[in-house]
Symmetry: C2
Subunit: 164 residues, 2 copies
Amino acid sequence: MKILLPEPLTASAFAPFGEVIAVNAAQRHFSINGGNTERYHDLAELVPGPDGKLIVSLFRGQPRALPFAIEMLERHPLGSQAFMPLGDQPYLIVVAPPGPPPGPDDLRAFLAQPGAGVNYAPGTWHHPLLALNAVSDFLVIDRSGPGNNCDETAITPPVQLALA
Amino acid sequence: MKILLPEPLTASAFAPFGEVIAVNAAQRHFSINGGNTERYHDLAELVPGPDGKLIVSLFRGQPRALPFAIEMLERHPLGSQAFMPLGDQPYLIVVAPPGPPPGPDDLRAFLAQPGAGVNYAPGTWHHPLLALNAVSDFLVIDRSGPGNNCDETAITPPVQLALA
């Protein structure tokens, strides 16, 4: 089985898929609250899509065992979906760019550290949550609204996600 | 100076001011991702307001020293503002209901634990970030758009926020 190894998560590497939500990915920050607080401003393009609205939810994911077989990806064609980790563990991301259903050679993986979230642009293919090491909570901002907003595609043959 | 002591943060106690964003405040949750993940669904009413859009930012706050004098509150009349703590420290919330500028007797305080965020409804009077113990990061979902979306009011005389 083809082995897929993660890259470090950086704003530039992740740009084809959406945005990184992290202090060190901010293009603009400024002081507020009389100097008490630094605001790292407007870090992702949140897209509610046609007749949709943005909602906030919490996802609690069980940790995955590695190596892990990537057998499918999903996409949300109508709206964005942002994930922010709330705990102290890293997690994994597997994506392919918006467009036709991807094959095994189209996948890229990223290792995200605590404090770094991602926002998937509408249509970005991605694997469901890949928590590591412990049960992990994420804040999620995504779309509620009419229409089909979830497509799945099989990855054939599967690829093997590993850390090294 | 009048002393203001925090209550525990619960969804029902906080209801006049907005919503609590926490697993144990969810009215609805269900399993997704083939059973890997539990989704605690749609935890807050996010309001972009007239001609506005929702944006996501990170706030990095310096810890406050207690007791702390509450000398002002602010409100965002046009949109909601949600705060989710990303670290492992508790924090404090001081609020007054939407309506006329509050006086010292109108204030309520809440002690929020890690894993529990809040969403201020449009117009809810609130003190700027009150981190405790350590430099603390929060994910913030609020409004970007035209018009004045921040009013401040003085609390006269100030009240003293303390833990006990």
